[in-house]
Symmetry: C2
Subunit: 471 residues, 2 copies
């Protein structure tokens, strides 16, 4: 980073150029830990005050439980409510355990409605009840109403504070209204917003105006003349994954949400959608590896339980593969080279299949793989499997031949390799498509089916061919 020459504007603090975000984090972590360990409360407060709330949340998450508790005792009451909203659910629960419901309610009230709903939603039922009771009636009603929408729906994501104007207004009236609304202590406008919604007398949205378009219009212009009428209205019950897709597809920054009667009830903004995108990606990625949800901050015992289920399923597929091997016990007893080589065929099939599977699951999540091109994609994957199958048949066959000085073993492992890699391509592409057709999330169940197929086919093809031709 180059040095910054003196600024012509004395009053402004020098803006900081961010180049790489990472190293700084470690340094701040170390400084916070040092302040905690030396009991330097004043230094700690100063450190934390200088940080963005999201950074504070990250530090709290990374500290070990003892230091986390110490930090909260020392600066807890002064912590910005926004820090709570940024925290991981497990860590936040820990913190709430040390707070009175009234304290929690006071923090929650200060948040935007969408953040408040998310936090309250994640509480255990009895705690939720206590916190809601400690809130003033209007705030409580707003949160309870949002909680009545299905989980992961647009209704949960949306912000209730929006700016609406009637159809007969002009640009001038709109700007005056906002200036008035912002006046005094009781600013009724949302913190930051991007669009103004034009509504009819029934409070149904008829158009949106991006602020940058409002600003370039002259005062007497009617709002209906500059509003965008090609609206994508989002229903309160729309799934958040579909919301995220729509935002990405249309490059939206905010979108109106309507209830069953088509009345405008809120708006979803891009920052909430970015969180959804991260969540959905994480779900897909972890599901493919057989992890239920991100469990970095869970206690070891909870993580163990969550992973146990998947491993149990895997144990049964592994036993299934062993049963297949067991069919060829006599063959194995006579030719020990087969036992040595057989994991190669299964492993290559599993890996080739996983490549295909991951591409397919990803493409389905991005809606690039649909029934329109399903057969073409499957066909291509089978072809890719066949070509790579032949290539690896030659390589592996040659290695096996020289290793055991037996050309017929090389031939058999080569044939088995081709069979298993073709099946891997077919299964890798077809399994997620079939699961999706039956309404099952392909990310969750695909890999266990796939490895079952590639293990069973791999062992059966290799040992079966050997039994047929070598004995």
């Amino acid at each position: 980073m180059s040095e910054r020459p003196d600024d012509t504007l004395e009053m402004e603090p020098a803006a900081k150029v961010e180049d790489v975000a990472e190293p700084e984090h470690d340094e701040v972590d170390a400084a916070v830990i040092a302040a905690l360990d030396t009991g330097d409360t004043a230094g700690l407060k100063e450190l934390v005050d200088g940080l963005h709330y999201a950074d504070v949340a990250d530090i709290v998450e990374r500290l070990n439980p003892d230091r986390r508790e110490q930090l909260l005792t020392e600066i807890g009451p002064d912590m910005a409510p926004d820090v709570l909203a940024e925290l991981d659910e497990t860590v936040r629960e820990e913190i709430f355990e040390a707070m009175a419901p009234e304290q929690i309610a006071a923090h929650v009230q200060e948040l935007d409605s969408d953040d408040a709903v998310e936090i309250v939603n994640q509480m255990e039922a009895p705690e939720q009840q206590k916190v809601l009771e400690a809130m003033p009636a209007p705030d409580r009603r707003l949160i309870e109403q949002s909680l009545s929408y299905p989980e992961e729906s647009a209704g949960r994501l949306m912000q209730r504070e929006i700016v609406t104007v009637p159809t007969h207004w002009t640009v001038g009236q709109t700007i005056d209204f906002m200036r008035q609304a912002a006046e005094g202590d009781d600013d009724i406008l949302p913190g930051s917003f991007y669009d103004i919604f034009v509504v009819d007398p029934m409070h149904k949205p008829v158009g949106t105006i991006h602020l940058s378009h409002l600003l370039r219009a002259k005062r007497p212009v009617k709002v209906t003349d500059i509003m965008e009428t090609e609206l994508k209205l989002i229903s309160v019950t729309m799934d958040q994954e579909d919301v995220a897709f729509l935002f990405r597809q249309r490059d939206l920054v905010s979108a109106p949400v309507v209830d069953e009667a088509q009345r405008l009830v809120g708006a979803i903004t891009i920052d909430d959608v970015v969180d959804v995108i991260h969540e959905e990606h994480e779900e897909d990625m972890l599901a493919l590896a057989g992890v239920g949800e991100d469990d970095l901050y869970d206690a070891a015992i909870d993580t163990t339980k969550a992973r146990f289920r998947w491993l149990l399923v895997n144990l049964f597929t592994a036993i299934l593969a062993s049963l297949v091997i067991g069919l060829f016990a006599t063959t194995l007893e006579q030719i020990v080279a087969l036992a040595i080589l057989m994991p190669i065929v299964a492993s290559m099939g599993g890996n080739a299949g996983t490549q295909t599977l991951t591409v397919a699951v990803r493409a389905m999540a991005m809606r690039e793989l649909t029934s329109t091109n399903a057969y073409r994609v499957i066909g291509k994957e089978v072809l890719v499997g066949a070509i790579n199958g032949v290539l690896f048949a030659v390589i592996t066959g040659a290695i096996a031949w020289f290793w055991f000085d037996a050309p017929q073993i090389g031939l058999i492992i080569g044939l088995a390799m081709i069979i298993n890699m073709v099946i891997a391509g077919l299964a890798g592409a077809a399994i997620p498509l079939v699961l999706d057709r039956f309404g099952v999330d392909p990310a969750i169940a695909s890999s266990v089916f796939l490895t079952t197929v590639t293990d069973v086919v791999g062992f059966f093809a290799f040992l079966g061919l050997a039994a047929l031709f070598l004995l």
Copy 2:
């Protein structure tokens, strides 16, 4: 979807409530295919004109190559330039092959600078040259300048068209300026924007004003009184992954980009960041499965080549595992049950390790796992591995005992299971951390190291214990 009663506003088209995005897609695809197959050009044009450009791009991608070419012949020249920007790189290349450089240049010029740069960047060098030469000098210079920034840097992502105001202006002057700038044919304002940047005489940014804050201020207020001065300036060379992290962390919608001399040169907006987030996620997810990049639209031969490398690496690790098995050839010859059971130990270790690895890689990408909490996370994963190891030792041991009526085989597979699952937890957490320390992307190389470890340890522990105690 409920029926919509007659609107009070006759002039507006009824807005459409979007509830689920998916089924509609298949229908439109089918309609487009039908129009193509019956040669109904008018119907096809009407269909496509009614769609958002991103949807058109998706349809073009999903069509098979023959129909794609037909679609382009029929409606190609009328297609919106934005469709090109939305297309997958491979599909776009195909389309460009059928277009003259002048045609391409004309389309590219109409795009926002960030989209134009991305498209030109992805062209082959000779084609890029031709297209750039066909563009007017100012546009060409802008693109060439952006191309001079490193790949995947903020300079490539940013939009050059921004609104800046000097520090001595008032809110009124700013609004008047925008109204004037928007007048006439030559609208110099960017299409949509979210922030106005306040710059000093050296064109260094001193503050930003969110449009919603500009609108609530009265005309005589000075811009310096309402601007946000806690800026996160992004350097043109900042990596796009760091940009995305910053946007997410700070809930940013747009951010100023500065050159080495700290002068404002552009702004990055959230829509570009959303694309980066998707890209980075995709990279991580595909890398973990050994796929270089999303290759859904690549020709089969390119996909085969790209995947071959990873499979070759996997072949060597599989052979390494076989070498370990080979060490125990005599043991296997005497007890065939070992050959039947041994894949279970390796498979369970591989799966448990992959669970840990995926959580770790994901947490590192989200900067939740750093050196601050590395030892704690590793410790927890080892503990989880140990607990699940004991549980599965009991289950698998019991199964093996009854299957082969040999308690000692049950005991040995149980011991091997515990060893391999502890090692899997350790390796799954430690490998990505160590790779990251050496500057290697943990998503790319981790899984091959992991399966090598779990295979080798799994086979060695099981067969080694058997050789020691059973013979």
